[in-house]
Amino acid sequence: MAHIPDGILTLPVLVGGAAVAATGVGLALRRIDDRAIPRIAILSAVFFAASLVSIPVGPSSVHLLLAGLMGIILGPGVFPAVLVALILQAVLFGFGGLTTLGVNTVNIALPGALTGLVLGPFIRRASSPLRAGAIAAVGAAFCTFATGGLVALSLWLASSDFTPVARILLLTYLPLAIAEAAVTATVIAFLTRVQPQALLPQNTAPAE
């Protein structure tokens, strides 16, 4: 849904996206302990596998991005996790491209990181699993539209010919936002009930 392929954007947009993505990934990696890497990697593999399922919404079907959920669970680790997943998708399945890696990473990971940063504390402190799920649903919907907005922005910056499409692009993200909100709410409610410590981004190794 948010994979811009090679050949659409202009060089300044590609370079700008790569610079922002490199900053995000760099900042995240500096805060992540060496021993937390397996945790981030395995969770990234889960999100990758989950994004391959096609979920029916109305007459269409969508593949989830789960950026909001990743932001809540991984914290800033969402940047390297998304980057790695996008490299694999480009190489294994041909979704997206390598020159657009930076732009696509920012479009997906930045809203996710913000959601985790802003809503994460409220979700962890929520009085009931249902409430935690409701907050997460709002975050997931915001995240999806923010990604849509960033994709529109990337297209608009690339060429004025794309302006009409960029204007109506957000509408096409409505089915995805519905599915993201519903699934994310359930996952967060489930984790709050079953394993609340899973919602804590652990950038350092688990305590001995």
């Binding site: 659409i8 990696l29 397996p38 399922v53």
Partner: protein, 236 residues
Amino acid sequence: MTIPADLRLRIGLALALPALLTTVHGFAPAFTALVAMLLLHVGSRQPFPWKRLLHLEGFLLLLFVTLPFTMPGTPLLTLGPLTASIEGAWRAATLAAKVSASVLLLAHLFAATDPLHLGNALRALHVPEPLVRLFVTVTRQLGVVRAEFARLQDAMRARAFHPRSNRHTWRSYGNLMGMLLVRALERADRVEEAMRLRGYSGRFPRTALMAPTVADWAVTAALVGATLLLLLWDKA
């Protein structure tokens, strides 16, 4: 051989050629690039990547369909109040050719590549070590996680679950993913402990790669040169 055997050079090409191609404006050069990529594929013995080529993101479809109608220019056909312009149609065709050529190039460069080898090549290209370690671990664990996912989905299907557009479906998928996350976290702890038991100190051992051969450099230079010629033709 039409592509270099060395993975580092292939990664370089996968970045450089689409980056050059993205600046092409004319239809003829873009179409030539597409034909060249098709010829590359015919020359190789790999199966043709139809699925990759026909996979279109929703917004791309929107872009290709609306561009002829939103760009001003000489009218081509009229549908009620809408008029499609020749300029818009050419623009859409050029973009489609560039996107398709890039997709074919990536498919050709990495068709038979083991992602683990890719990790080694990335490290040799001075990609930060933790990032490469993350990439390699995701690649290794992906098979395990997908198998677990498939098992859980089989279990749902055995209980007559059929995905529809309703809250029950979304909630079922949410519970499925939550369960998968819980198991993944436990697995992560086990993997981390197992790695430490085997003396893992935060670095994977890596083997130095051999320098690319002269033939590899020659093929790479030829491909970059051909793309630069295309660019010159486009600007002329």
